[in-house]
């Protein structure tokens, strides 16, 4: 198919879609006129029911925890997929870590980047941990915190320390952390069954003060495990991509 045929087919498809889209919009409530009632009910009950003042986290890890479980496994499988696709192929060997991308001038890491990256590692770990442990009260949670924690690990690489980066991201540890994080989410859900309750029912004590660190029962716990899984998954995917760029090369080069 030539590019111009492709373009015209695409434009025709978009035009067709536009027709259905406009048709589908007829009769929808206007912008800002949310019809409810699902969101309204959750917003007005979550603080009482789950002792979580961050209602988005309550939806994520409690009311619709089952969706989040599926989502977490998408991440899990994607990380496994990246590791599988980027494995060392036949005819490839591991070399000394050097940027092998052609046509790019090789320059050392500047001192400014080095210093800033090293200085930021600590605060990033702290911030990531803060986000992971405050799902019940703020726009935070394991997903956000996990990504920030993984970014802290990437800062070590940015500081020009690929060897140090590899030392703190051993494949065995990351794979274990990923599996433990994902598995614990499933286990927390299953433990409700032992009490004769539905899967992922919030069975832990909810604490006295909604939004406090010890409140919200399984919401905080699941957020922690999600943080472990997400940080490990992202650190692993970054490590695999860096391995491709720096270490793995064809035999004979």
């Amino acid at each position: 198919m030539t590019p111009s045929v492709r373009r015209w087919l695409c434009l025709a498809a978009i035009a067709g879609f536009a027709g259905f889209y406009l048709w589908g919009l007829q009769g929808l409530p206007g912008f800002g006129r949310y019809p409810g009632p699902y969101g309204n009910i959750i917003a007005s009950h979550a603080v009482e029911q789950a002792h979580a003042t961050g209602v988005v986290s309550a939806v994520n890890f409690d009311y619709r925890g089952f969706d989040t479980l599926g989502e977490e496994f998408i991440l899990f499988i994607a990380a496994t997929g990246v590791a599988t696709v980027l494995r060392r192929l036949r005819g490839e060997r591991r070399g000394v870590p050097v940027d092998q991308v052609g046509g790019r001038e090789q320059t050392g890491t500047s001192d400014a980047v080095r210093v800033m990256a090293v200085l930021l590692v600590g605060p990033m770990v702290l911030y990531g941990w803060y986000l992971t442990s405050h799902a019940q009260t703020s726009p935070a949670g394991g997903f956000q915190g996990g990504v920030v924690l993984a970014s802290a690990v990437v800062l070590v690489y940015l500081a020009g320390q690929f060897q140090a980066f590899r030392r703190i991201t051993p494949v065995g540890l990351l794979e274990t952390a990923e599996a433990v994080g994902a598995g614990s989410f499933v286990a927390v859900g299953l433990s409700a069954l032992a009490y004769g309750l539905a899967y992922l029912t919030n069975i832990l004590p909810l604490g006295h003060q909604p939004g406090a660190v010890d409140s919200s029962g399984t919401i905080a716990l699941i957020s922690f495990f999600v943080g472990v899984e997400v940080s490990a998954a992202f650190a692993m995917m970054v490590a695999e991509l860096l391995e491709q760029a720096l270490v793995i090369r064809e035999t004979g080069t």
Binding site: P3, R6, R7, L9, C10, L11, A13, I14, A18, Y21, L25, G30, F31, G32, R33, Y34, G36, Y38, G39, N40, I42, A43, S44, A46, V47, T53, G54, V55, V56, A58, V59, N60, Y63, R64, D67, T68, E71, I74, L75, A78, A79, G81, V82, V85, L86, L89, T137, S138, P139, G141, F143, V147, P210, G211, V230, A233, F234, M237, L241, Q244
Partner: protein, 114 residues
Amino acid sequence: MSALFFAVVAWVAGAGLYGIVTSRHSVHQVIALIVLQTSTYVLLLGVGYKAGGVAPYFSDISRHARTVDPVVQALALTDVVVEAAVTTLLLAFIIQAHKRFGTVDPQQFSQLEG
């Protein structure tokens, strides 16, 4: 206002789709996919918006405050994470495709397979 909102969603989605179809570079194509997916965030957050509503975090506001729909916000969060994971996986495929075919032009992949 309503029309503008749905037009933004359609525009972002259309731009992303056009980018995917006409792309001559796989990395560009993945970025176009991200643009296409971004339209779903706009759509999700938009349908849950309530005129005058605030964010559904009750730490420092009244329990009875008028808030936007928390459910679509949770869905958008899900959407972002899935996008990040899928993007990484696609980039991994592009690296291997480049090694095997020596090109990252998606329009040449089909010719190479034969």
